[in-house]
Symmetry: C2
Subunit: 197 residues, 2 copies
């Protein structure tokens, strides 16, 4: 026998089913929890239950929220003529951290991917088109993968005829890295997207 | 605002308080859980609650267990004349995985460490001495750190006069590694512990 307790085994199973946590890490986490106070572990369990209980999609932007519409959509301080389109809710968080964007968001919850069978209807494109009235600019901020590019092109093709400005975030050499270690495609994009000084 | 939901923030806090999980990993884990079924997340929460509810120390060997004595201590198949002394419950698991030891265990829950103020009374040495009747061999399997060595010496000094064989697991070059990359102390131990072929 390896585990002397079924309860330990169950927690190890749950941890190791999470992304980037292997069996050994899962064991270490479980043994760490065993050393914590009962209040801590109970609090952790309660927080997990509340996660699924309280968190839902915002009916406008489809970001995770506890109130509907979400704090960003219902804020008076945001520019509601600009929508930034992202793939996932964590992308919203990454952009919010920049403190440089004050418009609204729209979370697609995926990108078009024919190989995985993800089509137009599986992601929130219809819902984006339904909220275009009064919008002056759509910023496409999808990940610079092939699927992300295809999805950007697809959305641009639909929205451009509606006389709304469609832009895409810049692709190029990341700040702090060096040209030497950038791949060819990134450098090509950086050249294409060069700006006049 | 970075998080649009307090519930999300709370789970991120809990995850990032665990060892080797940073803020970014905690976020990724939380967003991963949001995509799982309510049953999965609820099951995870239940397993955490059960961990602290059911798991306790075995009154003999001080390993984690749900039954007292633990399955190893109460097994008829184990050699109850040999006790292997380890630092932590995960060490028991590591040794059990070898399928090569069939005696009993004793978990000290730490090693002597004057700098951290961990003395004789803070670890389960008294409890080890209390279960020595009928024991023929004590195998010391503490981590090969300075504190582990000192603790091994300390225990050996107490137990040897009682006419019980005290052994220590071998220290040397790990299987699969090379001499070139072993440190001097490991090589010194490997030389000292050489065996006749």
């Amino acid at each position: 026998m390896i585990y002397t307790s079924q309860a330990i085994e169950k927690v190890v199973e749950y941890f190791s089913s999470l992304p980037s946590i292997g069996r050994k890490s899962a064991q270490r986490l479980t043994y760490h929890l065993l050393k914590q106070s009962p209040e801590f572990v109970e609090g952790f369990a309660v927080s997990l239950n509340e996660l699924k209980q309280y968190v839902k999609y915002c009916s406008k932007c489809f970001n995770y929220t506890e109130t509907d519409p979400c704090p960003i959509c219902s804020s008076q301080k945001r520019d509601n003529t600009v929508i930034c389109v992202v793939e996932d809710p964590n992308d919203v968080m990454a952009l919010e951290k920049t403190n440089g964007f004050f418009g609204l968001y729209h979370v697609l919850h995926g990108v078009l991917n024919p190989l995985d069978g993800i089509s137009y209807e599986d992601i929130k494109i219809k819902e984006l088109i339904a909220r275009l009235s009064g919008i002056e600019e759509i910023i496409l901020a999808l990940n610079p993968s092939i699927e992300g590019e295809v999805t950007s092109q697809y959305i641009a093709k639909i929205i451009k005829p509606l006389d709304i400005k469609v832009t895409k975030i810049a692709s190029g050499v990341p700040v702090g890295s060096s040209l030497e270690f950038s791949d060819e495609l990134t450098l090509t994009r950086a050249l294409e997207g060069r700006v006049v000084l």
